[in-house]
């Protein structure tokens, strides 16, 4: 998958252990799921070691007013310990405390917080407060942190936050880092078509080099949304579409591309497959190999009819050769 998702996991692990990202460079070759598993278990180990003390701190907060808890939290406990205590307080009281803290502190706290441990607190926060903190995080380009909150925020609050994200690149990066496929589907489903088009155009422009992220996102959503995003991609100008194909080729992402192609409308498939860039012998060979490796032949075969004679023949010959090899082996 993308180097960016691996990097995101390494950043999160480095933050947890107070290390520099570069110190964990040896982990780059591992799967995102393996790194996430390691990070989550290390996070749990850290939390468990302080838990007995944190439970007592949370209990003691019941004795003092909310404003004093906020003042003490900001002055003595800092973002990390406040994040740890948050999930141990009553959600109502924790939400009240959040209302007394400055947005900059809440942004720091959010970086340290495991949103799943404070779901009920987050659900009680007013949308206006979440938007204020989101603006602070946008300023800091804290897209990884923002993405973690997509899993626990309501659709209504997510819509309010999306309204303040004016930068397509930021929106794309946040969406890319969302961990739950269901929530990603919901998030993208909330993006109006014009904005989605704008995000895809941004990803497709060469200088941003964000197509791997956009394509990775498309592969994680359901067929309907994948088809919608695929159709938008197919409607890009020849120049933009050529940039997309070049990025697919550069990143060796033909398998993902076949998945998107197969979800597009017939008109879109015809347009993309008749494009000269897809029909170069090198691209065709890569496309056929990816289809074979990913078991996507059945999806690609019906699309061949949209290709011009020569490239279609090349692919058909390729399939015939593989078929007879398989037959001879059997």
């Amino acid at each position: 998958m993308s180097q960016l998702s691996t990097r995101a996991e390494i950043i999160k692990l480095a933050r947890l252990l107070k290390l520099k990202e570069a110190q964990l460079a040896s982990l780059e070759k591992y799967e995102v799921a393996q790194l996430r598993d390691l990070r989550e278990r290390m996070s749990a180990a850290l939390y468990d070691s302080s838990r007995p003390h944190l439970v007592r701190v949370a209990a003691a907060t019941k004795l003092i007013p909310v404003a004093l808890i906020a003042a003490i939290g900001e002055k003595f406990y800092g973002p990390l310990l406040c994040a740890r205590v948050t999930g141990l307080m009553s959600p109502e009281r924790a939400a009240e405390v959040a209302g007394k803290l400055p947005a900059t502190f809440l942004a720091d706290l959010s970086i340290e917080l495991d949103p799943r441990s404070a779901k009920e607190v987050i659900a009680l926060l007013p949308a206006s407060l979440v938007v204020t903190v989101a603006k602070e995080m946008l300023k800091r380009r804290e897209y990884i942190t923002m993405a973690r909150f997509v899993d626990v925020l309501s659709d209504k609050v997510i819509r309010a936050v999306m309204d303040v994200i004016k930068d397509d690149r930021a929106l794309l990066e946040i969406a890319f880092f969302v961990e739950s496929a269901d929530r990603l589907d919901a998030l993208i489903g909330m993006i109006p078509e014009e904005r989605l088009r704008s995000v895809i155009v941004t990803a497709a422009s060469d200088e941003n080099n964000l197509w791997p992220e956009a394509l990775s996102m498309m592969t994680q959503v359901g067929d309907k949304l994948r088809g919608k995003m695929g159709d938008i991609t197919a409607s890009l100008s020849d120049e933009q579409l050529s940039t997309v194909i070049a990025a697919v080729e550069r990143g060796g992402m033909w398998g993902a591309w076949v998945g998107v192609l197969s979800a597009m409308s017939v008109e879109s498939q015809r347009r993309v497959l008749s494009l000269a860039d897809v029909e170069s012998p090198e691209a065709l060979s890569a496309l056929a190999t990816a289809a074979k490796e990913h078991g996507l032949w059945n999806q690609l075969l019906p699309l061949l009819k949209f290709m011009n004679d020569a490239p279609r023949k090349q692919l058909e010959d390729f399939f015939e050769r593989v078929k007879s090899t398989v037959k001879n082996m059997g």
């Binding site: 252990l17 290390m42 180990a45 003595f76 310990l81």
Partner: protein, 73 residues
């Protein structure tokens, strides 16, 4: 040696499947992860002790006894 360090790291984490890839990591990476986790725990405990001590100065005098009873049972 690296395997021993991988086992040491696994022993500090929740048991369960996965994390076999730790066996492939070199000695330096495993040392870093083991030490990183130990140091983070230590730092967090120290910060918590300091925060509890500091926060006492802001607790109203009349509540300090009750506060201490909860924090230091």
């Amino acid at each position: 040696m690296a395997n021993k360090q991988a086992d040491e790291l696994r022993s500090k984490l929740k048991p369960g499947a996965g994390l076999e890839f730790l066996n492939e990591l070199d000695k330096d990476s495993l040392t870093l992860l083991n030490k990183g986790l130990d140091d983070a725990k230590k730092t967090e405990h120290q910060a918590l002790d300091k925060a509890i001590e500091g926060s006492m100065t802001m607790i109203p005098f009349l509540l300090r006894g009750a506060f201490k009873k909860i924090l230091f049972p």
